[in-house]
Symmetry: C2
Subunit: 119 residues, 2 copies
Amino acid sequence: MLKARDTMTCQIRDVLDRVGDKWTLAVVNELGGGPRRFTELKRGVPGISQRMLTVALRVLERDGLVGRTVHPVVPPRVDYELTALGRALLERVWGLIDWTVENHHEIEKARGRYDSLNR
Amino acid sequence: MLKARDTMTCQIRDVLDRVGDKWTLAVVNELGGGPRRFTELKRGVPGISQRMLTVALRVLERDGLVGRTVHPVVPPRVDYELTALGRALLERVWGLIDWTVENHHEIEKARGRYDSLNR
DNA sequence: CCGCATCCTACTCGATACTG
DNA sequence: CAGTATCGAGTAGGATGCGG
């Protein structure tokens, strides 16, 4: 029998504060491919707005998951890259992603059953 | 070098649709301790409203992560429990939780540094 | 090129009240 | 006990315009 983690509710809050929003995970994943410039990230994460990318990067930088390097040149150049901490997180997130990929079909079937029963 | 998962952005949406909200994970975790009645879940997940518990349970039931059993008695009695699919998800989520626990202190330090530098 | 400030909309969520 | 219905406040996030 699986056992519930004790005092987990507050830890779940911590987890979700980090990865629970739409864009943070996508940005972290994109950075998993190596250092990226701001504009490269914007291209690499389809649908993200400039504002949301900025916000996501600031949060990640503040939490020490992403490093930010400003090159004093014109035009400005800024590189972002995962820290060791960020790479460790990405590997855990892949556990979740893999689960979704592995079970995508079964979930779809469950939904079909549910929806046909409840109209 | 870590490599980014290809076509990951849409899969991230799938993941977040499942576990990206405040309460779903907490409910799944509580059910990790075994079958629970509605009111037991409400007590076991501090701060959750009746409405949010209902919504979370419906989503989880629809996706086949949680089973729902209605006992035809008065007063009504309904039991919820994780399916095999739900238990598999919970184990992956623990990977994330453990990362948070392991690195909580380092994240706090990073925040302190960031905040002191940027006032 | 990089990113902040502002405005505005749409949805989320909590509180409350009510039902089988 | 186990929900459903309704309403209002708060917030996330897109659009736009400007500045270094």
